[in-house]
Chain length 312, copies 2
């Protein structure tokens, strides 16, 4: 690991170098990233476990229909203390009746207990939640997919960035941590040393706020219904909080996938697959009829990990 | 220039190194980026000329009020052919009555002639518009602010990124070009070698789509009313186009600031000022009570250039 990292750092990372094709020498690579994803074989898709899905139903909007947001919870070894708390809170229906309290443009949508700041009115948290420390924001790099990967990306915030078992991550060579991208879901907290319980969550709706990495727990990402969060009216109070209760969007329910019988199956494109490598390469080197100038590089947050409903 | 660039490239860009304080050795630096902006002296603010403002009024939304979007047009030497066309189209009221035709989540809001693809129904463009070439997407780096700057940023798409007279840019050492960040406004075009006229525009509403740099002209950025674009309902047609005319948002009018008598004065924080340097440094190294782990770096698109209404 250490040798590998050093080699990349010494090379100055002047260019992202990737194999021209993961489709084999004779196969034709589709011209667009989406074309590559569509052509990916079934074996390159990883089913998402029902327990790794968090489904938030918001009160009906102008259309009159419940607005469903489907979140994929992050896998071990990342921030599993918080993920366990979130599963427990969902199992106890703790989030039901709470609300979206904040929408700050180019930053986050945040939900939880509107009275959470008032000890007299705050909804009590159940017993048995885990308390995490700031050390839990990152894990050792050894053994991660990024440790073995040759598909590392230049990064403005860390030594390198890449992907680990489906998740965008960054590393300093010793530790690795999940990063804040568009659609990432994280855990609200008070000032350090508080690390948050999972009772208050947010989703990113703008430019990746990577300054939050290792300062707050990334617990998942929105894989369906993102528009129900990103298109919400912006709050007019300080830092995007809604100035009046009427502006908040009520949460009908939050459940894990295991608790729902009507939920489709979801899957994501394995980030260690040849298809993903080709997709990443094409995101970094656009070469279809529209593009005249391939960049030769791409930001880790500009390579969204494809996720979709499974055909079966 | 060349020597300077080489020095940075050979250093591997392992860390963004900036002076600890641009406020002088004895002055107290505000703890937050916004605090630094608020404390910036008047001399660090640059008035925006009225002719560099493009004001788009959208039909009233649920509140019943016209939704005003204020755009700052990019300065010379960048993409001035397109900017000239846009000023001419606004002067002729050409955009009035057109519409927002597309809102694609985590990508762009686009506006123009809904019938633009149909030669029989398309609104004719006036005579005298300039035709630009793909060479016009970038300009020589020599003489730019980035040429002389020590405040350069690691970048996933180019050799380096930075700021030039108020605009986020990237460079390969020889040329320099404006980049696509959240809120950037660009010129829609057909397939190459078409470069667009300015009759169709878009604004970025998600993760910086930097793959568009040098492939399409960046002509400005939204400095007020961004929420009137970013919170629009997402289009349900392919790539976010609205499936029905009823879903489109009508454009009441588009004018340059010179044509309006009721417009406030706007100003932006000089990107060559000490205040901006301190602001950038703080964006890269958060050190207030919330943050426990400063990143030591920041993406060029995560340093929005402060712009505001002038006090006078």
């Amino acid at each position: 690991m250490r040798h590998f990292m050093r080699k990349y750092l010494l090379a100055g990372l002047a260019a992202l170098v990737l194999p021209a094709s993961a489709f084999g020498q004779d196969a034709e690579v589709p011209a667009t990233p989406n074309g590559i994803v569509d052509a990916a074989p079934a074996a390159d898709w990883v089913p998402i476990e029902q327990r790794d899905l968090l489904v938030m139903d918001l009160a009906p909007g102008p259309s009159g229909k419940v607005r469903r947001v489907v979140i994929q919870l992050i896998d071990a070894p990342y921030v599993q203390g918080w993920v366990g708390n979130i599963r427990a809170l969902a199992a106890q229906h703790w989030y039901d009746g709470l609300a979206i309290v904040r929408t700050q443009d180019n930053y986050v949508v945040q939900w939880g207990d509107p009275d959470g700041e008032d000890p007299k009115k705050a909804k009590p948290l159940p017993e048995g939640l885990r308390i995490m420390t700031e050390d839990d924001y990152a894990v050792p790099a050894a053994g991660s997919e990024i440790d073995a990967s040759t598909r590392l990306l230049r990064d403005a915030y860390a030594s390198l960035a890449g992907f680990d078992h489906g998740w965008p991550v960054a590393t300093d060579g010793k530790s690795v941590w999940p990063v804040h991208c568009y659609g990432s879901v994280g855990v609200g907290r008070d000032l350090s040393p508080d690390t948050g319980t999972g009772g208050e969550l947010y989703a990113v709706i703008g430019q990746a706020p990577r300054q939050l990495d290792r300062n707050i727990a990334v617990v998942g990402r929105v894989i369906e219904g993102m528009e129900h969060l990103s298109a919400l009216p912006r709050g007019t109070g300080p830092i995007g909080f809604y100035a009046t209760p009427q502006e908040r969007t009520p949460i009908v329910s939050v459940r894990t996938g295991e608790a729902l019988t009507d939920l489709p199956r979801y899957e994501y494109l394995s980030t260690s697959s040849a298809s993903f490598a080709a997709y990443l390469d094409k995101r970094a080197n656009r070469s279809d009829a529209f593009y005249i100038h391939p960049a030769g590089g791409v930001d880790v947050c500009n390579v969204p990990v494809p996720a979709r409903r499974a055909a079966r």
